[in-house]
């Protein structure tokens, strides 16, 4: 990378006068997909994605041109195209920006790891996935067993004619196991997922074996379970469902580019209005939500966003009140509201937009026993399996893999096909219990889709289990 870095800075110096400001973001990402199914190799694919996004400020408008041709001629062609398109578009720009939206910064980030991913052998990875696959082999009723790992090494370097020089290096892993049990027309799948900024230390055969066997047993257990009952009951969501609830009903509606209408034609608008900040009682007083790209091992931690804005932890919702949105320096300028460092692009071939990073629900004080003891009639739900929400982020419906029916503060039985639905602000105001720090788990997704042209980005979400009162719950075939 160092050779390219020298050339890139040289290139910028050479063409400095071509535009009011020029940025160059080099992204080199190596992703290996390793999949074992039924104890056999299913997929072994490694992708190298390396290119450069040239960004120019011309007549108050930022425009972009991406290329994988990293020769001087290739970069010059990309620069010329960026200037040509941006000059034409500036006459019809949404807003007149300045180089203040691209602060001059210098710095580095290296994700935490005990062992570099490129020092972790293919044999070691295959062996650990094989262990997981075999760990799920507990019954002939388990018809499908999959153990997979997505192994990601990313280097993002950002330079500008304004003097910015940022280098960020990430090792990330997403491990997934899935066990599917079938009997007659019934089919139930349990999954396990661990993802985040980890190195090769994540390939722990003993832990893999334990989790693999657990989910296989639970898939079998679900075959014999009754359908989740239908009605208004209390709902205790575990962290592997809370992450999705946070993502869809807090993260997306708080994105300021949605509030500004940029996203209306694709993912949608938002029920949140600019005047809601500082006023809207988004949830109960137990609700505290942060934007926190500083969390060790969480999937979307970083030191700078793709505009060079230094990333810091900020409260989005404090004691239930909406206080801050997810808006980059550009959105902050357009809306005249405070935001966060969240201008992120999926790769070198896309322009940055307002994204989530790590959006976390801060822990409360309750133990798990205390949360369950508050339930007179209710359902515990674990692990997301279905998700849908409207384009304003109001009406949602989520389904989980595994449910437990609770009566008078005691778990009575396992139930299958648990689902619930609600409306965002009403739902969060029904929050009556938040687990303590010992119960916090970190989850996330490698596949958050948004933007035009479309972009997939990684997000992290930490949360303890949370208890909600009188939620509309139902099972399968309702």
């Amino acid at each position: 990378m160092s050779n390219h870095n020298f050339k890139f800075q040289d290139f910028l110096a050479q063409h400095k006068s071509s535009a009011d400001w020029i940025g160059l973001r080099s992204v080199r990402e190596i992703t290996s997909y390793r999949v074992v199914r039924l104890d056999q190799p299913e997929k072994n694919l490694t992708d190298i994605d390396h290119g450069v996004m040239i960004e120019v400020l011309v007549d108050g408008h930022f425009g972009y041109s991406g290329t994988a041709d990293l020769s001087p001629e290739g970069l010059k062609r990309a620069l010329d195209r960026a200037i040509e398109s941006t000059r034409a578009a500036s006459a019809k720009r949404v807003y007149q920006f300045t180089s203040e939206e691209r602060p001059k910064v210098r710095g580095e980030y290296r994700s935490p790891r005990q062992k570099n991913l490129d020092e972790t052998s293919l044999a070691e990875i295959t062996d650990s996935l094989m262990t997981a696959s075999k760990g799920m082999r507990i019954s002939d009723t388990i018809v499908n067993r999959v153990a997979s790992a997505m192994i990601i090494q990313t280097q993002i370097d950002f330079f500008s004619t304004g003097g910015t020089e940022v280098r960020q290096n990430f090792d990330m892993v997403n491990v997934d196991f899935a066990a599917t049990a079938t009997r007659g027309s019934e089919s139930q799948t349990r999954t396990y997922s661990k993802l985040g900024q980890w190195g090769g230390e994540i390939f722990d055969k003993q832990a893999f074996s334990f989790e693999a066997e657990r989910i296989a047993k639970e898939a079998l257990e679900l075959l014999d379970a009754e359908n989740c009952p239908e009605g208004k009951f209390d709902l205790l969501l575990f962290p592997d469902q809370m992450y999705l609830q946070i993502h869809e009903s807090i993260g997306h509606p708080l994105e300021m580019d949605r509030i500004l209408g940029d996203e209306r034609n694709y993912a949608g608008w938002s029920f949140v209005k600019p005047e809601d900040f500082g006023r809207l009682q988004y949830g109960s007083k137990l609700m505290n939500v942060t934007f926190d790209p500083t969390q060790t091992h969480e999937f979307a931690s970083y030191a700078f966003d793709d505009s060079g804005n230094p990333a810091t932890k900020e409260y989005l919702i404090k004691d239930g009140v909406l206080v801050r949105g997810l808006g980059s320096l550009e959105s902050q300028r357009r809306l005249k509201l405070p935001g966060v460092a969240n201008f992120r692009a999926s790769s070198w071939n896309r322009a940055p937009i307002d994204r989530m990073a790590n959006i976390n629900l801060e822990p409360g004080t309750s133990s798990l026993e205390e949360l369950i003891s508050q339930i007179k009639r209710g359902v515990i739900m674990k692990t997301n399996r279905s998700w849908s929400i409207d384009d304003y982020r109001n009406k949602f419906q989520f389904g989980c893999e595994y449910g437990q029916w609770v009566e008078d503060g005691r778990i009575v039985k396992t139930v299958k096909n648990p689902n619930y639905r609600g409306i965002t602000v009403d739902f969060w105001n029904r929050l009556i219990g938040v687990g303590n720090a010992d119960l916090v788990e970190t989850h996330g997704s490698p596949y958050c889709g948004k933007g035009e042209p479309n972009q997939i980005i990684r997000v992290g979400h930490s949360s303890p289990p949370c208890l909600f009162r009188d939620i509309e719950i139902f099972g399968g075939h309702a």
Binding site: P41, K43, N44, L45, T46, D47, I48, D49, G51, G63, Y64, S65, G66, T67, A68, L70, S71, G74, A78, E84, S85, T86, A88, A89, A91, R93, V94, T126, V143, N144, T180, S185, T189, L260, G261, D262, R264, N265, G268, S346, N349, R350, A351, I353, S386, S388, D390, N394, K395, Q397, G399, N419, R421, I423, G449, E452, P453, I456, G476, H477
Partner: protein, 451 residues
């Protein structure tokens, strides 16, 4: 972007791909075989908000995937390349060596299907776009005074495939789409203008039709409560439904692995409406017939005929594992060019056919809510109306539906319209997609809305 630049990109890349692949095939050792897959685009993307430009992005990208068989092992490596042969060859040679090294470490692949020469094909479709200044004037001029949001994408898209047995497929197309919506406060109407040659008058006419729908949205909003209603899904909404059905619905692997929502249909325990026939139809010309290992799908293949299941999409790998007959499906076994055949409902009289109920132009964020029961949930979106006695009363507030496809496409299906519309893919994840669907409108009785 101009026409000449795009054609040059395509022509240069064809020569590059031939040279690069031949060089790599020469490096193969005995017992090894290699398939090379190329995806590339030269695109201009322009994002609009308020009929103004939010972001413009030019992208030129080329990706090569090496699928390697050696010693009974299967390994793949892909990489972006700059498109300059001399500079890229060392990287590609290194990847081939890495494939060979990984094959020494991995266990054998019991489901490996040997590559073969599936023939040659050459399909090139030229298009024409004005320079960006004129394009922007042409887009925003007729929309002056309108709150337009959306995305223009236009330029060259290439898919190609060669293997060490002599197979050679090339598909290059120059097309565009303008996927947009018009707003009156929170109310919105949706439109897509797509083609290969930009025509200002056609765009203005397309915009006008969407503007007329926006006018209907200015009628008083109707508060429709959750319940069951006679519901018309216009082709845009029906296309969304077809999209979710393709997600595991017709996959042989999903069926064998306990994940297929249409297991009962496939095994003859259930039927859909006799009005429903679903095909994989490559004569639509929206995407190449060859898949990523170069197998050429039949021009047309029936998945569901008159409500009865006929055939799964079966990849060669699935076929080998489960002893089935392959039909050149992609490895993920989703339909690439699906079509639902039209019916007998006259779309010009669709409001009369609805009588009292809902007209839905679009749906949003669909997902399986219960795969075993083939139940799907999702939201209404854009121009959706309450209809009474064959007349539009006014737009509705968004509604959530949750309905079994065995019901909605079974006894509840009243009819399909006589005209099926092509809905081109506007997906641009990573790179611009090819393909699309052709669907008629669907009239469904007692469609279930829950929130």
């Amino acid at each position: 972007m101009t026409q000449s630049r795009t054609s040059e990109f395509s022509q240069n890349l064809r020569r590059y791909f031939q040279t690069a692949s031949e060089a790599l095939f020469k490096e193969l050792e005995p017992g090894e075989e290699l398939t090379l897959n190329l995806t590339a685009e030269e695109q201009l993307y322009i994002r609009f908000n308020g009929n103004l430009v939010r972001q413009n992005t030019n992208v030129e990208q080329i990706n090569l995937t090496l699928s390697f068989h050696g010693n009974g092992r299967t390994v793949a490596h892909s990489t972006t390349v700059g498109g300059r042969f001399e500079q890229d060859l060392p990287l590609l040679s290194r990847l081939l060596k890495t494939c060979r090294e990984e094959a020494r470490v991995l266990p054998p692949d019991p489901h490996q299907v040997p590559f073969q020469n599936n023939g040659e094909s050459l399909n090139e479709f030229r298009g024409e776009l004005p320079p960006i200044e004129k394009l922007l004037d042409s887009i925003t001029g007729p929309a002056s005074g309108l709150d337009l949001a959306g995305l223009f994408a236009g330029g060259a898209i290439i898919r190609a495939n060669r293997n060490s047995h002599g197979q050679d497929h090339w598909f290059a197309t120059e097309t565009f789409f303008l996927d947009y919506s018009l707003y009156d406060g929170p109310r919105a109407a949706k439109g897509v203008y797509a083609g290969s040659t930009w025509n200002h008058a056609d765009w203005a006419a397309n915009l006008n039709r969407t503007r007329e729908q926006l006018e209907l949205l200015k009628r008083p909003q109707q508060n429709v409560k959750p319940g069951r209603y006679r519901t018309y899904l216009a082709p845009g909404a029906a296309a969304e439904l077809l999209g979710i059905l393709s997600w595991g619905g017709f996959s042989a692997a999903a069926w064998k692995q306990g994940l297929c929502p249409f297991r009962k249909l496939a095994e003859g325990e259930a039927k859909l409406s006799p009005m429903l026939t679903l095909k994989e139809n490559f004569t639509l010309g929206l995407c190449p017939r060859f898949n990523s290992i170069g197998e050429v799908a039949p021009e047309s293949m029936t998945i569901i005929e008159n409500g009865e299941f006929k055939e799964f999409l079966v990849s060669s790998k699935t076929a080998k594992e489960y002893g089935l007959k392959a039909n050149a499906a992609e490895s993920y076994e989703a339909s690439r060019s699906p079509e639902i055949l039209p019916g007998s409902l006259d779309e010009s009289k669709i409001l009369k056919e609805i009588g009292t109920g809902l007209y839905l132009s679009n749906l949003h964020y669909l997902n399986w809510s219960d795969r075993v029961g083939a139940r799907v949930t999702g939201m209404t979106r854009y121009a959706c109306f309450w209809v009474e006695n064959g007349e539009i009363v006014g737009p509705i507030k968004d509604l959530r539906f949750d309905e079994s496809m065995y019901e909605a496409l079974g006894p509840k299906l009243i009819g399909l319209t006589t005209k099926a519309e092509i809905e081109p893919s506007v997906s641009t994840y990573g790179l611009r997609d090819v393909g699309g669907v052709r669907v008629p409108g669907m009239l469904i009785d007692d469609f279930t809305f829950t929130l």
